[in-house]
Amino acid sequence: MTEKKINIRVPVLARVEGEGALELDIQNNQISHLNLNIFEPPRLFEKLLEGKHYSDVPDIVARICGICPVAYQMSAVHAFESLFNIQVSPWVNDMRRLFYCGEWIESHALHIHLLAAPDFLGFESAPAMAKKYPAEVKRGVEIQNVGNQIVRLLGGRSVHPIGVKVGGFHHAPSQDDISVLLNTVTKKLPDVEAMLQWCSALLLPDIAQDFTSVSLRCNTEYPMNMGKIVSTEGLELAVDKYQTVFKEHHESHSTALYSLMNGKPYLVGPLARLNLNYKKLPDEIRQLVENIPISFPSKNMYHSMYARAVEVLYAFHESIRILEKYTIPDSPAVDVKVQAGVAYGCTEAPRGILWHCYEVDEDGIINRATITPPTSQNQARIEEDLKSTLSEFGLDRKQDEIRFQAEQIIRNYDPCISCATHFLDLRINRK
């Protein structure tokens, strides 16, 4: 038997947020070992939160991620409000929805144009793609900027916002600021519709896979802040029962925990949301979607990119709806009365459900915190996808081709591994 070991290091940005590595052993043209290593720092934030007052939590957890801080804030405030039996006003619910729209827009627009599209158009990077498709990339940057403006309006700043508190917001935007934003969002809507058409015309690989989609589902709206946890396997679970079905465990090759549903991988994120909530989209968006040759539910993971585009369009429509009916509230927040107990919250981050659990004492001090981010939940699914898709792609191909294909598969999940410089270090061991 001959053994051939090849180490490939890719010292350039690979359009994955965070540092990752892939170990791949191929024996007799079969994958014998595959590990997606994530060097995501341990969730020290959970320990950091112990001893902190509940009111400090929204600003602390916002620091976990520069891309989806709103999601961390929303899961936290919903958890505490559920424990404290707080009913926020319809104004607060609307503003939280608007806030989330901003985050979905900025995160999805970034991924579509700068991280994923170069893969499907044959470019190694967004700047390379921008030379041939300047209008499309510029449009993506401008759409992302609209999301930033929404987050800034309610959060005070677009990264690590500070406008949120348990019970509502620290301030209510002025009518003038709302009018300016409404004008901006409305003007940009045709570009978003064009983006949807553009995404649908991209040549995406036609590969169907079996996987279980998991998301929130709410009777009254497309899920962001509220709802039960549901799956395509028929699961329907209250947020506080999450740990009865979903278990996290540690794998020695990864600093991120793996989350499994009844011991099996599952998918969270935009494709899972659309697979489970397509009918919750407004008619006008569904009509646009039904005019193109991609339908939901979909078993093609590459349709994730298109699902993001649909959600950007939805977020624009939803933002306009909320902004048009905006009125200044009597108060941007309701009073809070602390109760001891266990607080559970789950909302839909751009990359999927983000589950929080806090043990709180009678003074509002956090004794224990557990946070399960979407990337931990998708990690096992990504490995499953890599095994399946790479085998179909052909394991006898050149290492560069395998590496690129593997990176493309991973990027498709838009994993938020960390906010650091990132590369995929692929090690193939052929026997």
Binding site: L13, L114, A126
Partner: protein, 151 residues
């Protein structure tokens, strides 16, 4: 009058504040010069693109982590696409680094050369300040004052 745009890239985290601190100090140090404008960027994509639209001279300031001596100052004159590409990944403490964003802006026709980059090597961007940050900031402020005076 020629607009000189100074963009400090930074965040609130420890020594990653460098770009913002330089902007703060420069605003005081050169108070009264009407054609110099300042912008604090979070390194969030091309958030500075609109700001530089009508500028004839652009200076970026950012923290650098390249595992050399903390306090070291870097000055890079970017006069071409090649100058951008050879500095990608050696520049910024931010995830998607500043030179990638400059590269993207150039591809989109949003910038005109030349551009000046002034960076300061920091200890870390996450937790604590080393105590050397103020010295580095002062050095960079002094250098940018010279650049402005000669431009």
């Amino acid at each position: 009058m020629r607009k000189i745009a100074v963009i400090g890239v930074g965040s609130y985290q420890a020594e990653d504040q460098l770009g913002w601190l330089v902007v703060d100090q420069l605003q005081t140090a050169i108070y009264g010069i009407p054609n110099v404008f300042f912008f604090k960027s979070r390194g969030n994509g091309l958030d500075w693109a609109d700001f530089i639209k009508d500028a004839s001279s652009v200076i970026f300031v950012d923290a650098v982590i390249s595992n050399t001596q903390p306090g070291a100052m870097y000055e890079i004159n970017i006069a071409s696409q090649a100058d951008i590409e050879k500095n990608i990944l050696v520049s910024s403490s931010h995830g998607i680094d500043l030179f990638n964003n400059i590269n993207l802006a150039n591809a989109l026709g949003m910038i005109d050369f030349p551009i000046t980059f002034v960076g300061g090597e920091i200890d870390n961007s996450e937790c604590v300040e080393s105590g050397r940050l103020n010295v580095t900031v002062e050095k960079i402020v002094s250098r940018i004052k010279e650049i402005i005076e000669f431009s």
